[in-house]
């Protein structure tokens, strides 16, 4: 265990408060104005929409709220969303660790190219992310005839929704881990290997404890996006009620049928998830700073 102590990263925190002086401060009026602008902007764009979701959800009473979230179609949507997340997030987490390992522990030609490709889904519109799987597996698609002959449904069914979600959320974990593992370098792993530990043991006992908060953070972000993905899933889902509707698609249908209270009731569930994500994110940031 000694080897890990002398490679601890240098803390670069600077004590800002001690160096504050009048020459480095804006006049009070400017300070207040800027703070007011920032807070007003956040109030109108972030806080008010969030509050309005919960108020609209309960507008027609608690009964309507619970009827909306326990409706069979809503429960089916919740179940489908959870299944999609349960498949997508672990796959992208494993990929993220693998990609970060390859891209940070080794030097090879074409590294930057691979890095760009990992990032690619972020640059692609969700609608296109759905479209590409229609082109592959749809009835007119590349594998369309073969899939039809073997009676396999990918598009307008669970596999299509999973594939589109994997595509959209693919970079999240890798993007969190790559900069983190870059700064940690390879010396701890080299020490472990030269002391006779196996590759897997080194990963489990040396690397994983170092990256656990970053990994957790990436998983949380990936999870939030996988639950909430709308555009890509909308293209490949086929909108079959109770069958291929995820939670965001269920919200869309309710909203378009002017069932606002019900739409916002389901939306409030997803908002709770979003708030939970923000809280966990804050805890992780605090934990990783203190450790």
């Amino acid at each position: 265990m000694e080897q890990s102590t002398f490679i601890q990263q240098a803390s670069t925190k600077k004590n800002k408060a001690a160096t504050q002086s009048a020459a480095l401060q804006e006049p009070r009026i400017i300070r207040y104005t800027l703070t007011c602008i920032a807070l007003a902007f956040l109030a109108f764009f972030i806080v008010l929409p969030l509050v309005s979701i919960f108020i609209t959800a309960f507008q027609k009473g608690v009964d309507v709220y619970f009827a909306a979230i326990t409706h069979p179609d809503a429960l089916a949507a919740i179940k489908l969303t959870l299944i999609v997340v349960a498949i997508t997030v672990p796959l992208n987490a494993i990929f993220g660790v693998m990609a970060a390992w390859a891209l940070t522990k080794f030097n090879f030609k074409g590294k930057n190219l691979l890095l760009t490709m990992v990032d690619l889904p972020f640059a692609v519109s969700p609608v296109i992310a759905g479209l590409v799987f229609i082109l592959l597996f749809g009835s007119q698609g590349l594998f369309g005839d073969w899939l039809f002959a073997h009676d396999i449904k990918i598009v307008f069914a669970l596999p299509g929704i999973v594939l589109a979600t994997i595509f959209v959320t693919l970079p999240f974990v890798a993007r969190e881990l790559i900069p983190l593992m870059q700064t940690q370098g390879t010396s701890e792993e080299e020490a472990s290997i030269s002391l006779g530990a196996s590759g897997f043991k080194t990963f489990w006992y040396v690397t994983l404890p170092n990256i656990k908060w970053g990994l957790f953070y990436g998983v949380i972000l990936c999870n939030a996006r996988a639950i909430g993905e709308f555009g890509a899933v909308s293209v490949v889902s086929g909108h079959i009620r109770g069958m291929t509707n995820t939670m965001p698609l269920h919200i869309e249908i309710l909203y378009n049928e002017y069932q606002f209270a019900a739409a916002f009731a389901v939306a409030s569930l997803m908002s709770v998830m979003a708030i939970f994500t923000l809280i966990v994110k804050d805890i992780i940031a605090w934990k990783s700073k203190s450790s």
Partner: protein
């Protein structure tokens, strides 16, 4: 001399190179490259003139204008307000600062459809905010701008914030002791440090806004030629089983996104180079 250079292979003490690289390449190829290449392969089935006809159709061109101009305005709004928010969060103290800081990330965590219906009901003519205006906000390009500003806000704040945190007080002290007033220090010392981060944040927000679908469809009203965004054109063509048309429009969007991605990387490369020498 050559004996001093350690051969590349022997430096790989850490195991798992072939496994991790192979897995990464396979995963990315099957799930990203192969699907994306379908866009270009499928477009090949169109003749050049048919392709040009689809992408220069007046309704498509109108949608490029709507998407581009609203994304640009939203990006600029994010630059202004995002920088102010980052500044206030880094430099000033006020109550509930930590909670407010955390809330900036809400657009990343909140599903886009939820954001879409919430913003629409707020800014609709009879909504909490919309009722105070004697012109329409939701169902006009203004509504699209609001949705895209919401989506893009964290990009600018979260790229500017760490840079602002890392500007050392000594630099500002030096500037002040040499007689610069606060505005001069900001313009000549602080702002040049922030520009690469602001540009990166802007490009990220802009790129996201160009492709955004979920939050916009509810608030846009989706009137052809007026408030129809490009992703919606793809969606409409798909619903009519016009795969060739949808793919042609997708090529336009993809090429635009790739140019943007390239620009972002170029900005970051130029910004990093500044500190090297």
């Amino acid at each position: 001399m050559s004996s001093l250079i350690i051969p590349k292979k022997s430096r790989r003490i850490i195991p798992g190179f072939h496994l991790s690289l192979g897995y990464t390449m396979l995963y990315v190829s099957l799930l990203v490259l192969l699907p994306l290449s379908m866009i270009f392969i499928h477009t090949m089935s169109l003749s050049w003139s048919a392709f040009i006809d689809i992408i220069t159709d007046p309704r498509a061109v109108a949608s490029y204008k709507v998407s581009f101009s609203t994304a640009l305005i939203a990006g600029l709004l994010n630059v202004i307000f995002g920088t102010i928010i980052a500044w206030v969060l880094v430099r000033y103290q006020f109550p509930f600062k930590r909670i407010i800081d955390g809330l900036v990330d809400l657009p990343f965590a909140l599903p886009t459809a939820v954001a879409g219906i919430a913003l629409t009901s707020l800014y609709a003519p009879n909504g909490w905010i919309g009722q105070f205006f004697n012109f329409k906000i939701a169902f006009t390009p203004l509504g699209i701008i609001i949705a895209l500003t919401f989506i893009g806000l964290p990009f600018v704040v979260r790229t500017v914030q760490p840079v602002l945190q890392n500007i050392s007080a000594e630099v500002e002290e030096a500037s002040a002791s040499l007689g610069a007033n606060r505005l001069q220090t900001f313009r000549k010392v602080i702002l040049p440090e922030l520009v690469p981060a602001i540009l990166t944040g802007f490009s990220l927000a802009f790129a996201r806004a160009l492709g955004e679908y979920g939050s916009v469809v509810f608030i846009a009203g989706n009137m052809p030629m007026k408030t129809e965004i490009t992703p919606l054109i793809i969606m409409t063509k798909l619903e009519q089983y016009d795969y060739a048309g949808a793919t042609a429009i997708a090529v336009v969007m993809l090429v635009t996104s790739f140019i943007l991605l390239f620009t972002i990387n170029l900005i970051q490369w130029l910004a990093n180079r500044r500190f090297v020498h």
